[in-house]
């Protein structure tokens, strides 16, 4: 392939990534209290629409990003997995709140200890619930990842799971 053609495709790919990262269709999988904070972030005061992510799709087939918002129980886990399986590639997963990151303070028979035990997670947003600023920060991290993926042509390595800090 001539030099200028490869230049063109890589630029095209990057433009595609730029378009993708500013038109995120999200699927909010809201199960618990974090949902209130999700709504606060999505509404006009913080306004995720500024980042192009203001369009929730309540069908996994039309969504790019799965926002897992709230505690996931073992009974709910197969449903979440199925929703994720139904999403078309390319797809990303955001763990919203400590419950989805690590199980949080739940240590019992019912709760999944972090959705990364069942799904690949791209961005973790800890907090119980996370402040809207943290959510927007997580969203921008995700956008960077999407852009990175189109620039380099390979998916960035998944995030490290936030470990419990030693007091």
């Amino acid at each position: 392939m001539p030099e200028h053609a490869s230049f063109l495709t890589s630029r095209l790919n990057e433009a595609l990534g730029w378009a993708r990262k500013y038109s995120i269709f999200q699927y909010p999988f809201v199960t618990a209290c974090c949902g209130m904070e999700y709504m606060a972030t999505a509404c006009s005061h913080y306004d995720v629409d500024r980042f192009g992510a203001g369009f929730p799709r309540f069908s996994p087939r039309q969504a790019d990003v799965l926002f897992v918002v709230g505690t996931i129980s073992h009974k709910m886990a197969p449903v979440l997995k199925r929703i994720h399986d139904q999403m078309a590639e390319p797809k990303w997963v955001v763990a919203f709140g400590v419950c989805t990151c690590t199980g949080g303070f739940y240590d019992n028979y019912a709760t999944v200890m972090g959705i990364d035990t069942i799904l690949p997670v791209d961005v973790y947003i800890p907090g119980c619930p996370p402040r809207p600023e943290m959510v927007l920060d997580g969203l921008m991290k995700l956008q960077d990842k999407i852009h990175e993926e189109h620039r380099t042509g390979e998916r960035p390595a998944p995030e490290e799971r936030p470990e419990t800090l030693d007091a």
Binding site: K75, P78, T117
Partner: protein
């Protein structure tokens, strides 16, 4: 005026094991053979007319008194002391019997605006009581919940399945001998 306890006790002297009342909350401890008849009485007697089963739950007393009581307030630094007009004594008479479980029923009458509590001790060997679904249809899901979490069966229940946990779940998680860290995930690793 006779109290609700007296009415139930005079009508079913054999079924009532004990009773107590604290600030208008009346509690009758019943033997389980007498439960269904006493329940029908409190529902259908026009002076009691308990037409609303507010709650149906259970208690596992197997670990009761074997460890330090959780001190919810002592760690907050706030002194919790009753006001002088409340007698400084524990109003709770303790576990209703030496049996492991107790099933607890809360009734309310929307006509008379009064409440009554039934406590039915149930042994570990045969954890079974009569179902009240025929009297209060709302007992259906509550009894399923008690079966799910405590493993107490309800004789005559039309559909005694788990309601909160999934069918594959083994054991009854609110029993005190269920290990608190035990996980039984449907999918994914045991963590």
């Amino acid at each position: 005026m006779t109290t609700l306890i007296e009415r139930v006790a005079s009508r079913f002297p054999d079924a009532v094991a004990s009773s107590h009342a604290w600030r208008g909350d009346e509690t009758v401890v019943l033997r389980r053979e007498g439960l269904i008849e006493a329940a029908r009485f409190v529902k259908e007697d026009p002076d009691l007319a308990m037409n609303f089963l507010m709650d149906l739950s259970a208690v596992d007393y197997s670990a009761f008194g074997k460890g330090p009581a959780p001190a919810f307030f002592s760690s907050s630094g706030v002194a919790v002391r009753p006001t002088p007009n409340i007698p400084d004594e524990d109003p709770w008479p303790g576990p209703p019997s030496s049996e492991r479980f107790a099933v607890v029923y809360h009734f309310f009458s929307t006509t008379h605006k009064h409440r009554l509590r039934f406590v039915v001790p149930v042994g570990e060997d045969e954890p079974e009581v009569d179902s009240l679904v025929t009297l209060w249809p709302g007992a259906n899901w509550l009894e399923r919940e008690v079966w799910d979490l405590f493993g107490i069966r309800f004789k005559g229940h039309p559909d005694l399945r788990r309601i909160l946990m999934y069918e594959e779940f083994e054991g009854h998680p609110l029993r005190k001998d269920y290990p608190v860290n035990k996980r039984q995930p449907l999918i994914g690793p045991v963590n």
